[in-house]
């Protein structure tokens, strides 16, 4: 049956060895009290909560779904109690500042927590999923009065926030939104309009809900420069019910335990957050961590897929294998994980999952350094590479989450297609992450157009330099030499194609848009090459321990079987010099 246990050993490896984060914590005033041991204990307890409370509600929540009647939403059985346990456990406040009532722990540990929550129960995790982003947004842009009113309740988990962006005619293009906000009494506004796809827009986990709503002021310019951000609570501070109604919930392919709501604001009372017409900028504060967290959903799905597929493949016996592990006697029938095709699938699952973990946590650690590192140079540098990698994490991870869930389903054969084994749920749940929080296509445009061409390749050079440092460190280790050379070679080719694309953009401005998807996958592959080179270096000479022996095998598998996909991407990027025809009207 579908099961999930937090991969604590690998999480420790990434945090303590790959990132050596405890060293950075010791050198950062904000985290000086934190060490590897305490971090491991926190993750262990988070793992117990995820496996013990959330994972058992994953399949039942999917089958039951959310119920809507007369403006109210009933979440699946056990969801409200699990949320109560989450809040009582103090998990909602993990990365919030101590001054605000939080635990003041780094984003890195929050990322590990998020991975677990999404792997164990994506639908449930949607409810507290944006709370941290909303906390950051309110903290950065709220007046003291608003902060006093709502910040502690968000930190404690007493109130759950939502993001109300999308309208029926305004999806990826938020500039098309029509919801209006009129000034009313003393700094307040009345918000009117319809919002769709609001996750947790109505629910029975918390009494009050705090909506972050994008809307236009009466004098607003057209387009995305005329959008402001408003804070609109379900229950007003004086106890009155605000004029917001939930008109229905969507019936979805996956994350069926998450209530995706249609909301009508009918002169609902609220406050402006940040400057007039600067709503998108204000909301972008939450977008970076939100996009990272969506990427972690892909990682979570990949991890769940790997755990379930590998357990099944070790038990399921079909056909005699062509070869067997040393010491295993001939048998009439062998476990399917002896078959080469299944070994490839399983190794791909393990190698990409572990690789994404290191890359995702590296980015989360970068968010911490960008905020807390002691010198401005360190902060700026960290900010540059996290900004560059964030769209890669979002798009590449979620694409892999879906693809790997599908590969895992294939391991189950016909049983994978039936509900009982629940791997089909992982596949359905994983699909949305490629769409929301900015579609993967938009992420690719953001990477190539804004992050790479936008700064003339500076950020990319930064990333390549970090890889170069790793290559120099690894080259002297015999088992890493070929990997180091391969990574250096692909790094050069990436530089070259980047220059080509930047130059081509001046004569063929559409070309980067045609190339963006393949470019993002190329950067994803290259970044994972960096991950596996460092992992191979850390594992060198430690084969006696099966954990490091497996790391070496995964590194070899990555460089032999997976990284060559970069050639394919480079070829496709070359092909984007050809235009694309328009389709018949």
């Amino acid at each position: 049956m579908w099961q999930y246990q937090a991969p604590l050993r690998d999480m420790r490896f990434v945090i303590e060895e790959w990132l050596a984060a405890p060293n950075d914590w010791q050198n950062t005033a904000s985290f000086a009290g934190l060490d590897g041991e305490l971090a491991a204990q926190i993750l262990e307890e988070a793992g117990r909560f995820s496996a013990g409370v959330l994972a058992p509600l994953n399949a039942s929540g999917d089958q039951e779904g959310c119920q809507y009647a007369q403006g109210k939403v009933k979440t699946p059985t056990g969801f409200p109690e699990a949320y109560k346990a989450f809040v009582e456990g103090g998990w909602a406040s993990l990365a919030c500042a101590e001054a605000d009532g939080g635990q003041g722990l780094p984003q890195l540990l929050n990322a590990a927590l998020m991975e677990m929550l999404f792997a164990a129960n994506h639908a449930w995790a949607m409810y507290p999923g944006i709370a941290h982003g909303a906390y950051e947004c309110l903290k950065a842009h709220g007046s003291d009065a608003l902060k006093a009113l709502y910040l502690p309740a968000i930190v404690s988990g007493e109130i759950l926030p939502t993001m109300c962006l999308t309208e029926p005619q305004a999806g990826s293009d938020v500039g098309l939104l029509r919801t209006r906000a009129e000034p009313s009494a003393a700094g307040q506004y009345r918000v009117t309009g319809n919002k769709v796809f609001v996750s947790g827009g109505e629910q029975d986990l918390t009494d009050n809900i705090l909506h972050l709503v994008l809307a236009r002021l009466p004098d607003a310019p057209a387009g995305s420069r005329g959008i402001s951000l408003f804070l609109v609570p379900k229950i007003l501070p004086d106890g009155r019910r605000n004029s917001i109604s939930c008109d229905g919930i969507e019936h979805k392919m996956g994350i069926r335990g998450s209530a995706t709501c249609t909301l009508s604001f009918e002169g609902a009372e609220g406050w402006l957050l940040g400057e007039p017409h600067r709503g998108l900028a204000a909301m972008f504060v939450m977008m970076n961590s939100a996009r990272l967290h969506v990427g972690l959903q892909g990682l979570g799905h990949a991890e769940a897929a790997w755990q379930n597929a590998s357990a099944y493949a070790a038990e399921r016996q079909q056909m005699r294998a062509v070869s067997r592990p040393e010491g295993k006697p001939e048998a009439k029938v062998d476990p399917i994980h002896y078959h080469p095709a299944m070994r490839r699938t399983l190794l791909e699952l393990r190698t990409l999952t572990e690789g994404m973990r290191a890359l995702g946590y590296w980015t989360a650690h970068g968010l911490d350094l960008a905020e807390y590192a002691d010198t401005p140079e360190q902060r700026q540098q960290a900010h540059r590479w996290t900004a560059l990698l964030t769209p890669v994490i979002k798009a590449y991870f979620t694409e892999q989450g879906f693809r790997l869930a599908s590969s895992a389903l294939q391991v189950f054969g016909g049983y994978g297609y039936v509900r009982e084994y629940a791997i089909e749920q992982t596949l359905r749940d994983s699909r949305i992450a490629m769409i929301y929080e900015g579609t993967n296509e938009i992420q690719a445009n953001d990477l190539l157009l804004r992050k790479v061409i936008g700064d003339a390749g500076q950020g990319l050079q930064d990333l390549l330099q970090r890889m170069q440092q790793e290559i120099e460190q690894s080259e002297s280790i015999p088992s890493c030499q070929t990997y180091a050379r391969a990574l250096a070679d692909y790094g050069d080719k990436t530089s070259a194609i980047t220059t080509t694309l930047i130059q081509a953009a001046s004569t063929d401005p559409e070309r980067p848009y045609r190339a963006a998807g393949d470019y993002l996958r190329l950067i994803g592959l290259l970044s994972l090459g960096f991950v596996w080179l460092r992992s191979a270096r850390l594992a060198a000479g430690r084969e006696a321990d099966p954990f490091y022996a497996a790391k070496q095998e995964s590194a070899a598998f990555y460089f032999n079987y997976l990284l060559p996909e970069a050639n394919h991407r480079l070829a496709l990027l070359g092909a984007t010099r050809h235009g694309l025809p328009f389709l018949a009207e």
């Binding site: 204990q41 262990e44 117990r48 409370v53 456990g89 103090g90 993990l94």
Partner: protein
């Protein structure tokens, strides 16, 4: 009133253990370790007594390798006030563990000791009883409920065919069965606070306990695999098989 809870670091109950190739023991290298589930229940009960105001201090103690500090930190995060580790790498028999715990009982003088009824690694179910005998404490084993009344503790015991209630004169030792309670998850703020709680590490020699073992493990084997079941086509065939093949009726 002071409560002492003895806890053990064992292999996580989710892990499928394998026997080492040389059959000397099970292979625990790289296996995830955890607090013994019965010990967790014992600890939970002690913490609840403290929360009800019936206990003044909960001390978690363990005998084991240096890494057992991790489990004691978990105990502190759940709500124990302080912890003591008797650090030893040796594989100890139940009697040796009981002797070491007895030395701690002499030092700490707890009125109530709660332990798990057994540890899920070796399933001995001996340490609590031995400790009671060594310390001269009353004992109530396999507890499914526990209630303090004045100088007595009332214990509902899970026995064959039902329950048995006993009243023990304090000081006493109670061993916890599964139904006693459902242990809590440690909260994040309590994990953070636990880091500042005292955790004392002692060497067994310091307590003057002579550890001699009169038990030797000869061989460890995995249970034989159960043959697959078969479907019979009539009740008569079933009865026949039970009578002649299984020989159970």
């Amino acid at each position: 009133m002071k409560i002492m809870v003895a806890v053990k670091r064992v292999v996580d109950y989710n892990i499928k253990v394998r026997v080492r190739a040389d059959q000397s023991d099970v292979d625990l290298s790289n296996a995830k370790m955890a607090l013994n589930p019965f010990c967790e229940i014992a600890l939970e009960e002690a913490i609840r007594l403290k929360e009800k105001g019936q206990a003044s201090e909960v001390i978690a103690v363990s005998v084991g390798p240096s890494q057992a500090q991790e489990q004691l930190r978990t105990a502190l995060a759940m709500g124990a006030d302080r912890a003591i580790l008797l650090e030893t790498e040796a594989a100890l028999s139940s009697l040796n563990v009981a002797k070491l715990l007895k030395a701690l009982v002499d030092r700490e003088q707890p009125q109530l000791i709660i332990t798990g009824k057994q540890a899920i690694d070796t399933d001995n179910n001996q340490t609590g009883q031995m400790l009671a005998a060594l310390a001269g404490y009353a004992q109530g084993t396999f507890a499914s409920s526990l209630e303090l009344q004045g100088e007595e503790v009332l214990v509902m015991r899970e026995v064959d065919g039902g329950s048995q209630q006993v009243a023990l004169q304090l000081p006493a030792i109670v061993t916890a069965d599964l139904r006693l309670n459902e242990p809590r998850y440690a909260s994040l703020p309590n994990i953070m606070k636990a880091k500042k709680k005292p955790l004392e590490v002692l060497q067994p020699e310091a307590l003057g306990v002579a550890l001699t073992s009169n038990l030797r493990v000869l061989r460890v084997e995995a249970p034989t695999e159960r043959p697959p079941g078969i479907r019979v086509d009539s009740v008569a065939a079933l009865v026949d098989k039970l009578k002649h093949e299984a020989r159970v009726i």
